[in-house]
């Protein structure tokens, strides 16, 4: 304690609040004995003017150096007394408060104990204050803008007040329209005036107010800074509809995607492009996009699958085909041969079976052919650049297709006499009829693409150099794989051993393939299966497939394997040819195979085959077709040192930019990637085409290296796995068994009906199917499917949080049968049912559409229930009364209210209750126990029974009801804890935000500059919410009009002369308010950024850092004092 201290101690009786349990006299006597204490006074109410006068008086007359007041909590009156000191000319920080009410007299009943504790607390305060020193407060300016979060009635009110007083307001709303819950209500209690009539005008004003910036579909992500100077990040989700939207609704008409309407409820639906309700503000439509669905995600060429599927469901087959052709020139071909990864993770598959997407694609393509229509090529102005494409397989053709549609002049050079690459030479006609292939190749060529057949790369044809000389600005190599891989076993070069590719090419190109009687095909891929089936068609009596793994691991498409089996192909698994032998005739007649077993999976995930020692098996055959793997033929190309091979003997090209070693030469397809499927080759071709385009525009190809972020699996649609979604197996593709084993195509296409039904099974898990026909329907061109989310950075002086509530989820109380009985509905659903523009157009009805004769209204569902919401939700009684009235009014039905107590707490509420009693509504005092359809007597059969104990009669009652309304309580929003975290609010009652003081500061929060309004602070009715909205606005305006705030000097200070610059304070500061000065090897506190938590002061190992008014010496003194008694 410093010498010459004159400490004044003031003890408050607080009426009897303190005096009752604390012996004031004794404490006062004790205080006098404390070192440095000059004056001790006690008074009934220290906080009263006379009380404060005492202090001011003494400060002057007794020349007090420090003041201690022992009374209530400092959170209550610290400011008051500090003010008093200041008025009397004593620095406000030479004051310390001792909390002997909240933390003493109110919590201890034993007088002696309370008195002793009061002594300790006062002793602590006296010792501490002796260490206090004068401090100056810092003033900072307050910004003039305000942020209001949540545009329900409370937020709207707050925003309007602020805006009307000339402040600029940012109003942030999570939904697509403002209005909150009130916008869904029909009438309001107790006056019964229509909610829309009083709300809509306010909403319109908000929409038009020059001082209000409305941010819908938005959420606050981050709040930095401090009172008067908040820096806020707001994330606005894309609306996909621009401000040009007039709300005409043409888009809605054409949109094929139907979703449950979560605004109107009651099983009503809306489109993917929608507007919550007619009076919505802003009155613009919005598109619900949940993200990229897996069908589109897994498609190598990213076809907008749900787009065409949903158009098919609505019979717009041409539109569907257009969606497909945006990325895919071969709908009919792919519709037949695609390995369709799109069907693997279809959300419908979680419910019953995934959609038959591939077959749907085939359907629309085939239909076009049937009707003899031909697609229109897209032919933009030629851009004067020439590109050579070598190879006319799927990769080459897709590359040509893309580039031609961008205006390039394309010439394709094809080695063989017909275009199509492996689509033609590899895939047999009974899978992909030639007229189909020709037609789709023709469509590519129709884009002004020139095709040169029988022109291989090499001396006999064209060379890279010759092409360059011919003026091609870029070259795209799509050479494919034409060589078969050898087995490397004895006898491989015997007559009768043929490579699969050569065999198929002969068969498919020239329809003449030498085929044996007993044929063994070695391999498990599609080529092997095709070869086997082809062999059957070329007269083989007996065809077997030898595969070293099992059916599980066969890479071939399942359906094809099945077809092969169906046609009589024998499958031998876990056998690996080791030798081909000649018979007495000297001709190939046996294949000797090692028996295998499966070992651990390899990196590819397929289980590795392992030889079983000494176990062999032999097969009688006269021809062997090797279909192990395929290689590109690059012998010519690699003579040029600019090109080289990978260790897999494929052509080396950059995996992102497709560049080869030679400038201007790009490569794609199987020649680069190794054997792949048609659609994968197309994707590769597209990638190269994109690169070529960038290259010819002189752009930096590195942008292709940026990993395009892969969106993760979408959250499951709510109704997936739910019984109310009927199970419907996928449509089966008709198979043409009549064809037998012929060259005629085996699989057939869907019928129109089949296709539309199948397509209708799509759940549209993407929300919007991205078919984009709405764009065509909108003549204002207000729809932008590629719109991106935006992040707004705002600087504001004050924040009003009005995020509202959500109704308690009544599914958590299954005893009331919600979700099981159609005619048990929630309060919100009933609001919509009554609403003129609701799903029933205002008709109160049962699910069957009949007007109910008896209606039960169950109060306190979830509320006042220890295992759900412990508190009373305040409004349920009143809205239940409102419901009762509306039911009587609309239907005249008998209404039973099951209640615990009626809480009619507001102006005109009790009167309303009386009125209802007069209207003949039945009130049963007793909370409903359950709603059951189990009849206990014949007359109960087929009725819903509400069971409850009538606590007035003391009997259990079973009341039949045709409609049961559950008056659910008001719960904090699910995301309230996140919101609390963003705004650093406290949470009480399981998620309602904590006000600064329950009585004296109901709209303030402990964080200065942040205010609360409406039901986010606790259950509230409309009048209260509105009142709070205004109050919060007023709170914010006070700050702004003052124009400056005073920052408490509790900031951290680092004493340079003692700082060794160890930087640990820098690490300990959560606000980056400590900076290290390397020059002088010391750390320094940036006052403006320091929030005054004191963590650095505690953590400074050399004690150089300290916190104003919370200095070590002060706290240590307080500790000593607290223990001195």
């Amino acid at each position: 304690m410093k010498d010459g201290n004159q400490i004044g101690v003031y003890i408050c009786h607080c009426g009897t609040n303190i005096a009752r349990t604390v012996d004031i006299q004794e404490v006062a006597g004790f205080a006098r004995s404390l070192p440095g204490v000059a004056v001790v006074r006690e008074y009934k109410y220290m906080c009263s003017d006379p009380g404060q006068a005492l202090i001011k008086e003494d400060i002057k007359s007794e020349r007090l150096t420090h003041v201690v007041v022992a009374s209530c909590s400092p959170l209550m009156h610290e400011e008051t007394f500090r003010g008093a000191c200041e008025d009397a000319g004593l620095n406000r920080f030479l004051f310390q408060m001792s909390n002997i009410r909240e933390q003493c007299s109110w919590v201890h009943h034993e007088r002696s104990e309370a008195t002793e504790k009061a002594k300790r607390l006062i002793a602590a305060a006296v010792r501490r204050v002796a260490q206090h020193r004068p401090l100056l407060r810092q003033e900072v300016p307050v910004r003039g803008e305000a942020l209001v979060v949540g545009a329900g009635i409370a937020g709207i009110e707050a925003a309007l007040r602020l805006a009307d007083s000339g402040r600029h307001v940012y109003l942030v709303e999570k939904e697509s329209s403002i209005g909150g819950h009130m916008a869904r209500f029909d009438k309001t209690f107790p006056t019964l005036d229509c909610a829309a009539c009083i709300l809509t005008p306010k909403m319109v004003t908000v929409g038009q107010h020059p001082n209000i910036t409305l941010l819908t579909l938005s959420a606050v992500e981050e709040v930095k800074g401090f009172v008067g100077n908040f820096h806020v990040k707001v994330h606005q989700h894309a609306r996909y509809v621009t401000a040009d939207c007039t709300g005409c609704g043409e888009c809605e008409k054409v949109c094929p995607c139907v979703h449950p309407n979560d605004f109107d409820l009651l099983g009503s639906t809306r489109k993917a492009i929608y507007r919550s309700f007619p009076q919505a503000i802003p009155n613009a439509y919005v598109i619900e996009k949940r993200g990229v669905p897996m069908c589109e995600e897994t498609c190598p060429i990213h076809t907008r699958t749900q787009g065409y599927v949903n158009l098919i469901a609505h019979g717009d087959f041409t539109g569907a085909l257009k969606v497909i052709r945006d990325v895919n020139p071969f709908p009919a071909s792919l519709g037949r041969v695609c390995h369709h990864p799109c069907e693997d993770r279809c959300q419908r598959g979680y419910h019953d079976e995934s959609l038959a997407i591939c077959a749907l694609k085939r359907f629309v393509a085939d239909r076009e052919i049937e009707l003899g229509l031909s697609p229109e090529p897209v032919r933009p102005e030629p851009n004067g650049r020439k590109v050579a494409v070598v190879g006319s397989g799927p990769a080459g053709l897709t590359g040509a297709y893309d580039l031609a549609r961008k205006g390039y002049a394309i010439t394709i050079f094809e080695k063989y006499g017909k275009p199509g690459g492996l689509m033609r030479t590899g895939i047999p006609p009974f899978r992909l009829p030639r007229e189909i292939l020709d037609r789709e190749v023709a469509h590519v060529l129709a884009h002004g693409v020139e095709l040169r057949l029988n022109t291989p790369l090499g001396e006999s044809g064209v060379t890279i150099e010759s092409l360059k000389e011919d003026g091609f600005d870029a070259i795209l190599l799509a050479l494919g794989t034409t060589k078969g891989r050898d087995l490397g076993i004895p006898g491989e070069h015997l007559v009768g051993v043929v490579n699969c590719l050569d065999y198929l090419r002969e068969a498919n190109l020239h329809d003449r393939a030498e085929t044996g009687r007993r044929v063994a095909v070695v391999g498990g891929g599609n080529a092997a299966v095709d070869a086997a089936r082809t062999a059957l068609r070329h007269g083989a009596e007996n065809v077997m497939i030898l595969y070293r793994r099992t059916r599980e691991e066969m890479p071939a498409i399942g359906a094809e394997i099945e077809a092969a089996k169906h046609e009589g192909v024998e499958l031998h698994f876990l056998v690996n040819p080791v030798e081909l032998r000649v018979g007495p005739s000297g001709r190939l007649n046996r294949v000797r195979c090692q028996k295998m077993r499966l070992g651990q999976p390899d990196e590819g995930g397929r289980r590795r085959p392992i030889p079983i020692d000494g176990e062999y098996v032999e097969f009688e055959i006269d021809q062997v077709i090797l279909a192990i793997s395929q290689l590109p033929d690059l012998d010519f190309l690699v003579k040029d040192k600019d090109f080289d091979l990978t260790k897999w003997a494929t052509l080396r090209a950059d995996p992102y930019t497709c560049e080869t070693g030679k400038l201007g030469v790009f490569a794609a397809g199987d020649a680069v990637t190794g054997p792949s499927t048609v659609v994968e080759a197309m994707a590769s071709g597209r990638q190269a085409a994109t690169a070529v385009d960038l290259y010819l525009h002189g752009e930096d190809l590195d942008i292709l290296r940026q990993e395009s972020h892969r969106p993760q699996e979408l959250p499951l649609m709510d109704h997936v796995r739910r019984p109310d979604l009927p199970r419907k197996p996928r449509a089966r593709i008709p198979v043409n068994h009549g064809a037998g084993i012929s060259f005629e195509e085996v699989e057939r296409t869907f019928t129109r009906e089949q296709a539309m039904e199948e397509a209708a099974r799509c759940l549209v898990c993407g929300g919007c199917s991205d078919c984009r026909i709405c764009s065509d329907a909108c003549d204002r061109e207000a729809i932008d499917h590629l719109m991106a989310d935006t992040v707004h950075e705002l600087d504001v002086g004050a924040i009003v949080v009005a995020t509202g509530f959500e109704p308690y989820d009544v599914r958590k109380l299954p005893r009331y049968g919600y979700g099981r009985h159609d005619d048990v509905i929630t309060a919100l659903e009933f609001e919509r049912m009554c609403h003129a523009s609701g799903p029933t157009g205002g008709r109160i009805t049962t699910k069957k559409g009949e007007a109910p004769k008896t209606v039960a209204i169950l109060h306190c569902i979830g509320s006042r229930d220890e295992s759900h919401l412990e508190y009373c939700s305040r409004v349920c009684c009143m809205y239940s009364l409102k419901f009762a009235h509306l039911v009587r009014e609309h239907t005249g039905a008998e209404v039973y209210n099951f209640y615990i107590d009626i809480r009619a707490f507001g102006k005109g509420y009790e009167e309303f209750y009386k009125r209802l009693l007069r209207e003949g509504v039945h009130f049963i005092r007793g909370k409903a126990a359950e709603v059951t359809a189990v009849a206990e007597s014949p007359e109960e059969e087929g009725k819903l029974m509400v069971v409850a104990e009538d606590t007035l009669l003391g009997i259990t009652r079973r009341v039949p009801a045709e409609l049961v309304i559950l008056s659910a309580g008001l719960a904090p929003r699910k995301d309230s804890s996140d919101v609390a975290h963003v705004f650093s609010l406290g949470c009480a009652q399981g998620g309602f935000f904590l006000e600064k003081h329950p009585k004296l500061a109901p709209v303030d929060t402990p964080t200065e500059g942040i205010f609360l309004a409406g039901a986010c602070q606790g259950p509230k009715d409309i009048p209260d919410s509105v009142a709070q909205g205004s109050a919060a606005a007023a709170g914010a305006l006070v700050l702004m009009d003052r124009g400056k705030v005073v920052l408490e000097p509790i900031r951290a200070v680092i004493r340079e002369e003692r700082c060794g610059g160890c930087k640990l304070c820098v690490a300990s500061c959560p606000f980056g308010a400590v900076e290290y000065d390397a020059e002088r090897s010391i750390s320094r506190v940036v006052r403006e950024l320091c929030h005054g938590c004191g963590t650095c002061a505690a953590g400074c190992p050399s004690g150089a850092a300290t916190q104003e008014n919370f200095e070590d010496t002060q706290i240590l003194a307080e500790i000593e004092g607290a223990l001195a008694v």
Partner: protein, 326 residues
């Protein structure tokens, strides 16, 4: 005029402080010229009676090293305090309690037990423990009583100055002596060393990142520190941030983390808890489990945080005779 008289004395000490004086090398010569060394047990013969014979104030200054832990030490330091004008606590032991101070994490009895009965190398069939009095062929022998609690010098007598370090670096000894001879002295009670922490002069401080997290503590016993990087940032409990500078960073340059021999900075009430507080900002962990796990990797916190200053810590000593173990 006569040369000022100077006394050196050692209590519970390892002799390193004497070495430090010798380490002045030729630097000792001017001192020897300037002063008359009247007492220096390690170097000169002496008799207790002679010292008792001195007149108070006769001797200008006594440099006392070692911590105080026996009746004999107590007698000597009181004697010197009486006879000498100034008393300088010389070295960590006298200044803070030093390494012998670690005896405060167990009890005298346990120490004697370990030393005379349990230790592997001891052969003591009759389990004889040291006695205050013994008769050996007709002679009464006395042993001074060993205290249970080791004390630093100023917990026993009034001390004028503190010369920190284990041992004090020759340079600072020289300056100290110069100051005393020249008579321009700092205020009584001063520690003759800088007021800032070691980090200020630490050659590795520049390399120290502003943000880092310690996932687990490391010990030089079990891993070799990077010779460039900040020890603490690497997870070694280097007490530099909580320790006075002025030692010349001898340990650091030897790739050894600071162990705190210069003691706390003037504003730190307790070297150990202060350092521990600082660790709170840089150790990893959010959940109780994580945090407890990381904390557990700091082996022997008492020995690590108070290697030289246990008797000077707020708590002073352990009341559990298991304090030495963990």
């Amino acid at each position: 005029m006569a040369k000022p008289k100077v006394a050196f004395y050692w209590c519970a000490s390892c002799g390193g402080c004497e070495e430090a004086v010798v380490d002045l090398a030729e630097g000792i010569l001017p001192i020897v010229d300037a002063v008359e060394i009247v007492l220096w047990p390690v170097a000169l013969d002496f008799k207790l009676e002679d010292v008792r014979g001195w007149k108070p104030g006769d001797v200008a200054v006594a440099f006392i090293n070692g911590s105080v832990r026996s009746a004999d030490h107590e007698m000597w330091v009181n004697l010197l305090r009486e006879k000498c004008g100034l008393v300088v606590a010389f070295g960590s032991c006298a200044h803070l309690g030093g390494i012998p101070g670690l005896a405060n994490c167990t009890t005298r009895d346990r120490i004697l037990e370990n030393k005379y009965l349990r230790a592997e190398t001891v052969v003591n069939p009759q389990s004889i423990l040291p006695q205050l009095q013994t008769r050996v062929d007709g002679h009464e022998l006395e042993l001074p009583e060993l205290w249970n609690t080791v004390r630093r010098l100023d917990q026993v007598i009034d001390v004028d100055y503190y010369l920190p370090g284990c041992a004090p670096p020759p340079a600072s000894i020289a300056t100290a002596v110069q100051a005393i001879l020249s008579g321009n002295l700092p205020p009584k009670g001063s520690v003759l060393a800088p007021e800032k922490s070691l980090c200020e002069t630490c050659p590795r401080n520049r390399a120290k990142p502003e943000q880092f997290t310690i996932q687990q503590f490391r010990r030089i016993a079990t891993s070799v520190p990077d010779p460039e990087k900040c020890f603490l940032a690497e997870g070694y409990a280097c007490l530099g941030p909580a320790t006075r500078g002025g030692c010349g960073e001898r340990c650091i340059r030897g790739n050894m983390p600071c162990r705190g021999c210069f003691g706390p900075t003037p504003d730190a009430l307790d070297q150990g808890t202060k350092f521990l507080a600082a660790l709170g900002a840089v150790t990893a962990g959010q959940t109780q489990e994580e945090v407890a796990t990381v904390a557990a990797t700091l082996a022997d916190p008492l020995g690590t945080l108070y290697r030289f200053s246990l008797p000077s810590s707020l708590l002073g000593r352990s009341v559990s005779d298991k304090g030495a173990e963990r």
